[in-house]
């Protein structure tokens, strides 16, 4: 079944219409939800209570009390569990729109005494969103300790976005009631453009690309010279003696080992327009394919401006993808209202400097 790609500018999160009972149970900041088993248990409890009151049988009163106790214990313990949970999420791999990226969830038991049992971190099901994370679940986290869990996240659009709204949820101890607490911090992540498979052969056939320069294959990898360090370049290329001498970071440059140097072109456009988004996706796919193939120093021209000079390596790939992640998007669009903001990447013009 074909799924519609959300536009880059339209909101991806919508409040879901919840059933009446759940709306009532979660009104005024409450977070209670009753599961099917919970309803069944409540009905059974009421039936036993009715029988106890009607008959006056003392053992039925005991059972009725036990059941009420289980319900109250369920409520208290589940509230206790979600209150002590502290969650931190971080992306552990490049994140492309429409593809799964690795996400690390660190779940900490915020209190020193007592275990935290049966806690899940999952997307808030009251919100309809195209972005989603796979839920994680911890059976038990001892007091004051943390559990690190690995999962994946899928973001639907490129740009700087908050991770999907998550909740810490528990049905502890018996799955009768669900207690949720919103995870207050929504970490922002830079989502690179969507990529697809690209065939490299036709690109190498066309050797008339702009800025094309050939290197001598026999000298590939040999020392070329020193240059001032630019942010984002690989640390291991820093030439420490020269850096010490000059008092500023200097890196070594080597003869290019690629056969070609290629500068890709992206026509200016507005984020959200299907044509522009498709072009961004194509360029990003080509960049990834070329740089991972390893032989082509790749640069990017946006309109008339050479925004990223040709180069190779993972850091260079990140530079290119970061530019493409934000190109054409209004700066405010991707800013979540209350996000604790990590430093935003530099705008495209600066990155190309």
């Amino acid at each position: 079944m074909a799924t519609r790609k959300p536009s880059e500018l339209e909101p991806v999160e919508r409040q879901k219409k919840l059933p009446l009972i759940r709306r009532m149970l979660t009104a005024y900041g409450r977070s209670l939800e009753i599961t099917k088993a919970g309803w069944l248990f409540i009905v059974l409890t009421l039936a036993v209570g009715f029988a106890a009151i009607n008959s006056g049988a003392n053992l039925l009163h005991v059972l009725f009390g036990c059941q009420i106790g289980l319900i109250i214990a369920s409520g208290m313990l589940s509230e206790n569990m979600v209150q002590r949970a502290r969650v931190q999420r971080r992306v552990a791999s490049p994140l492309h729109a429409g593809s799964r990226g690795a996400l690390v969830v660190e779940l900490t038991n915020g209190r020193d005494a007592g275990d935290m049992i049966s806690i899940s971190v999952e997307d808030d099901d009251r919100i309809e969103s195209a972005d989603r994370t796979e839920p994680v679940f911890a059976v038990a986290v001892p007091g004051g300790k943390a559990a690190t869990m690995h999962t994946s996240v899928t973001m639907s659009r490129r740009g700087l976005h908050a991770l999907p709204k998550a909740v810490v949820a528990t049905r502890f101890p018996f799955g009768l009631f669900v207690k949720r607490r919103e995870v207050s911090t929504r970490e922002r992540v830079l989502v690179y453009p969507r990529i697809h498979d690209v065939e490299l052969a036709p690109m190498f056939d066309d050797r008339r690309g702009q800025g094309e320069a050939r290197g001598a294959r026999a000298r590939a990898g040999e020392f070329f010279g020193l240059a001032e360090y630019r942010e984002g370049q690989e640390i291991q290329r820093i030439h420490w003696p020269a850096t010490a001498r000059l008092g500023k970071p200097v890196i070594q440059e080597f003869e290019a080992r690629g056969e070609t140097e290629r500068v890709l072109y992206l026509a200016p456009g507005v984020g959200g327009e299907p044509g522009f988004e498709e072009a961004v996706s194509d360029v990003a796919s080509q960049i990834v394919a070329l740089l991972r193939e390893g032989r082509v120093a790749t640069g990017l021209r946006y309109g008339d401006e050479l925004v990223v000079e040709p180069d190779t390596g993972p850091a260079h790939e990140r530079r290119l993808l970061e530019f493409l992640a934000l190109v054409g998007l209004p700066h405010t669009h991707a800013q979540p209202a209350k996000a604790a903001s990590p430093p935003a990447p530099a705008p495209s013009g600066e990155a190309a400097a």
């Binding site: 053992l59 106790g69 059976v139 101890p173």
Partner: protein, 748 residues
Amino acid sequence: MIRLLENLSRVLGGRGHGMVRLRDTLTLLQAAIAVLCVTLAHSASYWAVGVAVLLSAWAMVRPLPEASTTLSQRLWTVGIVAALILSGVRAFYSNELLIAGVDFFLLLVVQRLFNRQKTREHMQLLMIGAMLMVIAAVVDAELRYPFLLALYLPVATLGLLVVHLLSEGERLGKRVAFEVDRYASRQLERLNRAALQVALIAAGFGVATFLFFPRFGAGVFLRGNVLSQESVGFSESVALGGFGTIKSDATVVMHLQTLDEGGVQAHGSRPTWHLRGSAFDQYQDGRWGRSTAAQKRDLRPTRGYYVTGDATGDDAEVIAWPYRHSGSTGQTLDPRPIPGYAAHDELLRVMVTMEDIGTDLLFAAGQPLAYSVTPRSQLDSRNKLGADVDGQARVLDRRSGPIQYEFVSRVGEPTRAELQAVGAPEVPENLDAYLQLDPRLSEGLRELAEEVTAGADTRVEKVEAVEQYLLRNYAYTLDQPLSERVRAGELDPIEGFLFDTKAGHCEYFASAMALMLREVGVPTRNVNGFYGAHYNPIGEFYVVRQADAHSWVEVYFEDLGWVTFDPTPPAGRTAGDDAPLFPRLSEVGDALRDAYLEYVIDYDLETQLEVLENFGVKREGRKLELDWQRFAPWLVGAGSIVFIVLLGRRLLGRGRHVEAPEVLIYRKLLTTMQKRERGRHEHESARAWAKRLRDEGAPAAEVEALSRFATAYELLRFGPRDAEGRVEPARVVELERLAKAVRESPSE
């Protein structure tokens, strides 16, 4: 506890693994406890329980398919629907609604066990278990129920917790499901602790509800089991031989509490009361029955009592309200004087709590004068009494379950002189029924009776002659031997007893005496009931057991009425006198049971208000007021207990500090090396110790082994650990191996 659970899981948990196996075990265990509860309460058919157990065992040992096939699901659905219809039909026709319902639940348990792939089925199993426990709570008033409930509660709680964890796995996807199944069992200790905490909270609420939840309703009196356990000898027609089967049954059928002034000092610990229940006037083909010509007296309600009497008036005048109204002991009846009967005013007043033994008869000692039945609830107007023939009192509209009543009887017996004074009067026509004889009885019986009573002129002399003859010449036995002639149908069983076997139990003695006296013109009737009672000094009450079932004779003495005679040898009367095994233990059990019935099962609004008053909560009209002077000590006491528990937990927590396994291994090695006089200096690390030994020229193999151990130990002790601060078990095992290598290295 955890190891026990794990071992149980291996045995009972089928072919699953990890949490799945534990889940299977726990749901099976809780269902087993619940089924045991209803079975012990006689609320399930034994055949159904047997079949359910066999099928459940099959379900647990067979390889469980990944998912149920559509065919098997359809077959189960058809089977369940058919069973539902059959249960309905059975309930309708056999009037066994409860048992039919429980049997149907057993089938549901089996069906869930056969299709237990998903947690949904296990949740349903837990719900069915809960339903069965509720049913058992309604029908089982025995002391075993709270014990089984105490066992059920933590098992079901942990079961619910484990089912919940696995259902979270199912909900959150295969990855989480796999992780929960495989790795959550490592957290079993924590889960067990959590389940125990929840079970304690639930139990606390259960106790609080029991104590303080107001009994709005009828306050049904259910002092004992609702379902009946039928006893022989008290039906409309009784065949000889039935008592032989129950004379070794120590089941308690009655609790007696004397309400007169004397108590145990007056009555002794083994009173010889003949608690009469049923009486018979017709004997035919080895069976006692009742005729329409039997004597009938009246029972008239007066001031809370039903008083016996006849057309001329009541046998006694009520001078005080019965115990259920007044709550007081002492004399409540003034018996009508009987000329020539000095002991006519020797009365016995007893409160009886009788289990449901399948009869609507009330039992009372001597000659009953009045009864008062405690209603089953405040709103209950039933349990009215009616007089039957031969002085029998019956509960009209009797419902299943125990019954509590008070009786006042005349237990003073006429003296021999008073009986002798009656002489040998003509038997009036209205007593012809008590002279009836089976025409098939032989002449030999008449001849024997006449021979035995030869020379006896008065009625009492004839009675004594027959009684003594039986006591002297016949042996007591429970074996009920039948002679060849009886088997061949040539003789009546009583004649077989008298002429051939000359041995039998109480029914034979009593029947023989009754028939022999009738042969010589003395009106008699056969009476069945219980003989004697056993005082329980712990509970301060008397008990009567099934084994005390007895049969005796009543002889009519004109104005003195019917007088009891017992021809059974005294040793036979008290057969099964005590509980067969551990009588003292049995007394403790009876006392506990009685206390349980009194303080738990019979706990009512009145007692509840008393408890509240003890706590300092008073009811003033519609308001509740707190008396701080009485409430404060309870509050302080509760606070102190909480404080002590918390303090103890803290102290225990300190004392329970468990050394890390690698430290224990290291300590053991230190001891070994100390013995070799190459111990570690206090300031040395493990590696420094090994280095010093190398420098000092210790055996090379030992030093090499110690160096390897020291490196591994320091890495394990001070190296990285997982999030919970634990080390991998494999590394501990490796360290143990290295330590062993040091210990086994040549020391010279």
